[in-house]
């Protein structure tokens, strides 16, 4: 892999290779190898029925860091994210090859306890999806399903998680009122609170701010900033600023392939591929 100065990149012809269906190696920055990884994705391939959506994805998610997935719409970011907590199992037509390891344990085997896995990997969806229950019940849902009945503990966890999600001050007086009465931004932070109440090892965020206004987005970004360290976060975003502000590492995907993966700084300021540069600077297309 030859290193080229940032401004005078030549088109690598990589997209052509993709379009023609030739195989190629993703550009992975060496800095990523230095990190302790929590998730290791190995040669992941995924088919929806007969159409392939992911092609040989191999990458690492560093522990305690925020990893952003960027790429044009339909390139497979959500699909990849769903592979990690095996939400793709719910789609009948999906077929997967390759492996993902969570702290070294393979998770794509049929022997994996999916329920337990999902408890270790929390997920926040693109659209806020609080349950039609009270705020309190929403937050402690994961404890409820574990059969926790100790009210004191539940209240403690609820308060902690809401504080962690930066929502406590706004809702502490109406914990018993409906979660659906919250604003979109509040609902999304509630969903984050719900996810972190389970104390997962990894947090998957699929475009968590796409439904939010700039102020709410800012809040959530601040929140992501606070959460990192405690949680390893894998996040999908379409917002380049957000990726550059909030993430430590960034992966650029294109048509089901990983194109370039490296520290966010490097990927945004000194990408090694012309295609990546075009995409992050908005000259793509």
């Amino acid at each position: 892999m030859n290193e080229l100065p940032g401004s005078i990149l030549e088109p690598s012809g990589l997209f052509d290779a993709i379009h023609e269906g030739r195989s190629f190696d993703a550009v992975v920055h060496e800095a990523t190898f230095d990190e302790r990884s929590i998730l290791e994705i190995e040669k992941l391939r995924l088919w929806y029925g007969s159409s392939q959506a992911l092609f040989d994805i191999s990458m690492l998610c560093p522990e305690g860091k925020v990893t952003a997935l960027i790429g044009p719409s339909g390139c497979g970011k959500s699909t990849l994210l769903r592979c990690v907590n095996r939400m793709n199992d719910l789609i009948d037509t999906v077929r997967i090859e390759g492996q993902i390891r969570l702290s070294g344990q393979p998770i794509l085997d049929s022997g994996t306890d999916v329920i337990e896995l999902r408890k270790r990997i929390g997920m926040v969806f693109q659209k806020p999806n609080p349950f039609p229950m009270s705020i309190f019940e929403n937050v402690v849902y994961s404890l409820r399903i574990d059969g926790e009945r100790d009210r004191g503990l539940l209240e403690e966890v609820c308060e902690e998680s809401l504080k962690g999600a930066g929502l406590w001050e706004e809702v502490k007086d109406r914990l018993e009122s409906s979660a659906l009465a919250l604003s979109g931004g509040q609902q999304q932070r509630l969903c984050i609170a719900r996810a972190i109440a389970a104390e997962p090892e990894v947090l998957l965020l699929d475009e968590p701010c796409s439904a939010l206004d700039p102020i709410a987005t800012g809040r959530v970004e601040d929140l992501i900033d606070e959460l990192k360290g405690t949680y390893s976060i894998l996040m999908v975003t379409h917002n380049m600023q957000q990726a550059s502000r909030a993430s430590d590492y960034t992966a650029f995907m294109y048509l089901g392939r990983l194109v370039e993966f490296g520290p966010t700084q490097d990927l945004f300021l000194q990408p090694r591929l012309k295609e990546t540069e075009d995409y992050v600077t908005g000259r793509f297309g």
């Binding site: 999902r118 039609p132 849902y141």
Partner: protein, 864 residues
């Protein structure tokens, strides 16, 4: 032109479109509004129609202005009115019969039946007054028939003298009485009196009291003779083959009687309806009831006081039609109705007791005379002060109060055979009213409150609209029908609702997406199965099968769920890879396989259990054979016991697993789970049968209350089949409600690490509550109104029992069965319409409640 106008043209076109859209809009709005109002109006009209037919039931009886006429008759022995209220025959003190015109009081004809014979010393008449009997000094009796024969001679046969008879006038001509009817026809009425041959009693002692029963020529008499006391006399006619004459032989038996009392004859001897019971009534109200089923060994069954009040005296009696109910009147103006009711305690040798079932209180003057209608349970009572009151005995309601104070000292009053006239006789005249009793047996309380019918042990809710004999009384209690409706609904909902809801939950939450559509549509196909077919299957196929396989079926209630549970627990032993690899159709197949396993197990253990607990046959056991009831109690208590054990044990087990089970391997957990199932099963059975045993020891037997005799066409069967009828409706609506729960809620729950079951129970079900609720309510509505299945699958016996093994009759089935045979405009007919109204009210109340609850659910879930 065109080109230049293009711009405006386009604008115009656009304007036109707007107009059209607006028109369509207005049309649609109009149509929808019309449709909505139409529906409301239709329902209102139906209601109005039902009301219009049913309401006349509650009209009060009416009487016209009376017609009064002076008569010279003093204290007639008995009056015999004709059918039309025009003529009345009177048996006078001189034993002569006189025919009077009601309108004028004029004597039209006089017959001397006993001319040349000795005068009778005793006399009795049937309730309808057509059959008479006379007793004589020489110890003989004679029967007689009396009645008005009416005919409408054709014009040629009308005597010339009568052609000009004016309307309303009554004339006597040639042994008959002629009258021009309001329709202009000439009617000839002739009193027909026929005195029978004398029947000589052996005792040849003067007959002092007499009662007789004429059952199609078979005569039975009870005779009080001066010297021999009471005799029970049966007359049998045999035809002499040679002479062609009939000979009558008498069989006399002396009835037991307490001869120590004074030698004066009793006030009355009475032969009751079947001719198998005799009442000897004394002036002080004491009555001996003699059981004469076996005339040779007749016994005094009991002595009853017909005047229970202190110092009360009996003044008058009559039988109601059918002669089973005796009406007594006293000097206090109290009218009582007595009949034989079953008596369980064995205090009377025949197991019956003459009870005072109904009491009616008139004015505080003596009841001078009582007369019963020949066709129903109406009576008219004449009081000492000259008032005449009409009562309906069963409902104890006073229908009419007529004033006959102006015709001298009252003698009595009668209801005419068609119940359209009341005729009162006094010492100075007679008075007649045209009356309309409407529906005397119908009242709110007779429809909805227990009523004491003849021969019943006490007031009861009874529906029985048709009977064999004239004396039969229609019993129109709606409560058994409402009860039947509720029972049918309850059992079908008990069976159908859980199945439908669980099936809906399974298809919407657990079933492979590809299988969903075919399964849903095939269950919906079930709805198109005509209920006649289901009813037919139930009545002719399932009922006989269930009867033979009853023990296995009851055992299956336990074994099938158990087989499923066991299967689920064994499934846990599969290696994880297998389980996830087999999570598709293989699992469905495995689940389906549990069913035959459970059924086979039931077929295997059922007969053994039957031998062990039910003395070898459940059917016979239910009928009362065998003493042990522990098995039945165990089965009955099983659901409660299951709930108890799962609640208590489940909690404890969860806590135990949380403490200890963390580190266990899958296999170990599966083993412990299986062990838990075993322990739970033993505990459940132990609790159920333990409590059952305690109940048995303390002397409680479910038979007679919770359970009773087995009828193959029973409530369980209807519940099962009707359950099938309502499953598709509930299923479809419930499935829709569940599928419409947003997918993102499921994803959120699953993503949080909830199992599909937890997701279904904690997120999907609560979100879909209002939809599920309306699904159940619509199923309920269908069950309440369902007709064909109940009609065909039950015996349609309107009984009220909790017993799941007995039949019932629902409101709707009752209407279907009886409406075609009800006479239009009759009380029965109107009562059926009232039943329809009751059914309508039931579903209306039900739906309204359901809707309110549903709206509250929806509000709550939308607030959340």
């Amino acid at each position: 032109m065109r080109r230049s106008g293009n711009g405006t043209g386009r604008r115009k076109r656009r304007l036109e479109t707007t107009k059209r859209v607006r028109l369509a809009e207005r049309l649609a709005t109009g149509l929808i509004t019309a449709g909505g109002f139409g529906a409301v109006i239709a329902i209102t009209l139906i209601c109005a129609f039902l009301l219009a037919v049913a309401l006349p039931l509650f009209r009060r009886a009416q009487a016209s202005e009376p017609n009064e006429a002076p008569v010279a008759e003093r204290a007639p022995r008995r009056v015999f009115p004709d059918e039309y209220g025009v003529l009345v025959a009177v048996l006078g003190q001189d034993w002569n019969l006189r025919v009077l015109a009601v309108e004028s009081g004029q004597v039209l004809e006089e017959i001397e039946p006993f001319a040349g014979l000795s005068r009778p010393t005793a006399f009795s008449a049937s309730v309808d007054g057509r059959s008479l009997a006379f007793g004589f000094e020489d110890g003989s009796v004679r029967t007689a028939r009396i009645g008005f024969e009416s005919s409408f001679p054709i014009a040629d046969e009308v005597p010339a003298e009568l052609v000009d008879v004016a309307g309303g006038r009554v004339v006597e001509f040639g042994n008959a009485i002629w009258q021009r009817t309001p329709e202009g026809k000439l009617r000839r009425e002739a009193l027909d009196f026929e005195l029978g041959e004398p029947l000589q009693l052996d005792s040849a002692s003067p007959v002092q009291r007499l009662s007789h029963l004429d059952d199609d020529g078979d005569q039975t008499f009870v005779v009080w003779t001066r010297d021999a006391g009471p005799l029970f006399v049966q007359a049998e006619s045999t035809m002499n083959l040679f002479t062609g004459e009939s000979e009558t032989s008498l069989e006399e038996r002396v009835l037991p009687y307490d001869r120590e009392s004074d030698s004066a004859p009793p006030a009355q001897v009475l032969l009751t309806g079947t001719g198998r019971e005799v009442l000897i009534v004394h002036g002080d109200g004491r009555a001996e009831r003699i059981d004469a089923r076996d005339p040779a060994n007749a016994t005094v069954a009991e002595v009853v006081d017909l005047t229970p009040e202190e110092g009360e005296r009996l003044t008058s009696t009559t039988f109601l039609v059918g002669r089973s109910t005796l009406i007594t009147g006293s000097d206090r103006g109290v009218i009582r109705a007595w009949f034989d009711a079953p008596r369980e305690d064995g205090a009377t040798p025949d197991g019956k007791a003459l009870v005072e079932a109904h009491t009616m209180r008139g004015p505080n003057t003596p009841v001078v005379h009582l007369a019963a209608s020949p066709r129903s349970r109406l009576i008219v009572a004449t009081f000492g002060d000259g008032t005449v009151q009409a009562y309906h005995v069963t409902s104890e309601s006073r229908l009419l109060e007529l004033d006959a104070t102006d015709i001298g000292s009252p003698f009595g009053a009668r209801i005419l055979p068609k119940e359209d006239h009341v005729l009162a006789f006094g010492s100075a005249g007679l008075k007649s009213w045209e009356v309309d009793f409407r529906s005397p047996e119908a009242s709110f309380s007779s429809f909805f409150r227990p009523v004491w019918y003849e021969t019943y042990p006490g007031p009861q809710h009874v529906w029985q609209s048709e009977g064999a004999s004239d004396a039969f009384e229609t019993k129109l209690g709606f409560v058994p029908l409402v009860y039947g409706t509720i029972k049918a609904t309850f059992y079908s909902m008990l069976f159908g609702t859980p199945l439908a809801l669980l099936a809906a939950l399974f298809t919407s939450e657990f079933l492979d997406r590809r299988l969903r559509a075919p399964i849903k549509s095939s269950i919906e196909m079930m709805a198109s199965l005509p209920s006649v077919v289901l009813g037919f299957l139930a009545g002719l196929v399932i009922a006989p099968f269930a009867q033979t396989a009853l023990p296995a079926i009851l055992a299956a209630i336990v074994t099938v769920p158990l087989a499923l549970l066991l299967g689920a627990h064994l499934w846990q032993f599969l290696p994880t890879e297998r389980r996830s690899a087999w999570s598709g159709w293989q699992r469905v197949v495995a689940m389906a396989a549990a069913l035959p396993v459970g059924v086979l197990a039931a077929a295997w253990v059922g007969p053994g259990l039957e031998r062990l607990f039910f003395a070898g046959s459940i059917e016979l056991w239910l009928g009362g054979k065998g003493a042990h009831s522990i098995g039945a109690w165990g089965l009955l208590l099983l659901p409660v016991s299951v709930l108890l054990v799962t609640l208590v044990g489940g909690r404890g087990y969860a806590a135990f697993l949380a403490r200890r089970g963390e580190s266990w391997t899958r296999g170990r957990t599966a083993r412990v789970d299986l062990l838990k199932l075993g322990v739970g099963l033993v505990a459940t059975l132990g609790v159920a049968f333990g409590v059952g045993g305690l109940l048995e020891v303390s002397g409680f037997d479910p038979r007679g209350s919770l359970l009773d005799t087995y009828d193959p066409h029973n409530a369980l069967l209807v519940g099962f089949v009707m359950g099938f009828a309502i499953i598709p409706i509930i299923y479809t609506l419930a499935e829709d409600a569940l599928s419409s729960v947003p997918e993102h809620l499921r994803l959120a729950s699953l993503g949080a690490g909830a199992t599909p079951w937890q997701t279904a129970v904690r997120v999907v079900l609560p979100t879909a509550t209002s939809g599920l609720f309306s699904a159940v309510m619509i199923g309920l509505g269908r069950a309440v109104g369902e007709t064909m299945i109940v009609l065909m699958a039950t015996g349609n016996t309107p009984i009220m029992e909790i017993n799941p093994f007995s039949g019932f009759r629902t409101l709707s089935a009752n209407i279907a069965v009886e409406l075609p045979e009800a006479v239009q405009g009759s009380t029965h007919y109107r009562a059926l319409f009232l039943a329809a109204l009751v059914l309508f009210a039931m579903t209306f109340v039900l739906n309204t409640c359901a809707e309110t609850v549903r709206i509250r659910f929806r509000k709550r879930s939308s607030r959340l």
